[in-house]
């Protein structure tokens, strides 16, 4: 641990490790936030197993799988961009972040069409077909919309964050010697990926 160098004219010491620790702590709060929803899912899956089993049959496995592949690949591109910046290749790092953002947008577009299809069938909280569902199925679909919706909000936030980081790479603020902001942006993005890694089987696989 470096000693903070404080003189009478106080100089701010840039604490990269501290920033990383701070980001991990923030990730923990996100885990517990989604955790509450997973707890509700686990409980109602336990109590209404058949309804949940039925519910997943109504979701499009292909779209879900494609979205999973998209997010996994976007995690790759973010990880590669860190390798790039460590090697001093800021241009490559920048391009990889842009590709990551494009993947994020692709994910959101898929999600939009998925949701719209459900909405067209009246299968949206508050709509008629929804009200006709059994209790278990309405819980399943409500959790589907709430959890993937909350996740999508995090995808948007992540994409914006990465956009800012891309700008900082271009500007040179993020570089080979100081890339903690890229690391932290990457950590946030990987968490978004991890949440989906659990959402995908629990909603799209008929289990």
């Amino acid at each position: 641990m470096s000693t903070p160098s404080i003189t009478h004219e106080h100089s701010e010491h840039f604490d990269a490790y501290g920033k990383k620790l701070g980001m991990w702590l923030f990730l923990f709060t996100e885990v517990l936030l989604f955790g509450g929803l997973f707890i509700v899912y686990a409980t109602y899956r336990f109590l209404n197993h058949d309804a949940f089993h039925q519910g997943s049959a109504e979701l499009n496995l292909v779209v879900g799988a494609i979205n999973t592949a998209i997010l996994l690949t976007s995690s790759l591109t973010v990880a590669l961009s860190i390798t790039a910046i460590q090697k001093g290749d800021s241009k490559k790092a920048f391009n990889l972040i842009i590709i990551t953002i494009i993947f994020a947008l692709a994910f959101l577009v898929n999600k939009y069409f998925e949701w719209y299809a459900k909405y067209e069938h009246g299968l949206f909280p508050g709509m008629e077909h929804f009200k006709e569902l059994s209790h278990g199925e309405s819980q399943f679909f409500f959790l589907y919309f709430f959890m993937t919706g909350l996740h999508a909000i995090h995808v948007i936030v992540g994409a914006v964050l990465l956009g800012v980081i891309a700008y900082l790479i271009k500007k040179g603020t993020v570089n080979k010697d100081r890339y903690i902001y890229l690391e932290n942006g990457g950590l946030y993005w990987h968490l978004v990926d991890v949440i989906w890694i659990y959402l995908f089987p629990l909603f799209y696989l008929i289990i």
Binding site: Y17, L72, A79, T83, L205
Partner: protein, 96 residues
């Protein structure tokens, strides 16, 4: 002056290998779900998801190369969540 990054570089190739593993596990979990393993089906799905998470966490998120404290708190949070879930189910599993 170099920052207090531990500076460990995961090279391009290794990242890609991890990615391929992740895609393979995704295919595995989809295939396994076709079989009706009763209660085990959910467990299998969660297990594979956890393996994928382990890969993302260890390599993409660089946890494998961080100090013991970082690793300990990540594991700690996971353990905490699981314990809370188990305690919650002490109600639902044994409810009459």
């Amino acid at each position: 002056m170099s920052e207090d990054h531990n500076g460990h570089v995961v090279d391009y190739k290794f990242n890609i290998l991890v990615w391929i593993d992740l895609l393979i596990f995704t295919i595995i979990t989809i295939e396994v779900a076709q079989f009706d393993l009763q209660d085990l089906t959910v467990i299998m799905a969660l297990l594979v998801a956890s393996v994928k998470t382990f890969l993302v966490g260890s390599y993409f998120m660089h946890l494998k190369f961080e100090n013991k404290f970082m690793q300990a708190i990540v594991i700690g949070v996971a353990v905490l969540f699981v314990l809370v879930l188990i305690l919650l189910f002490s109600d639902y599993l044994f409810f009459k």
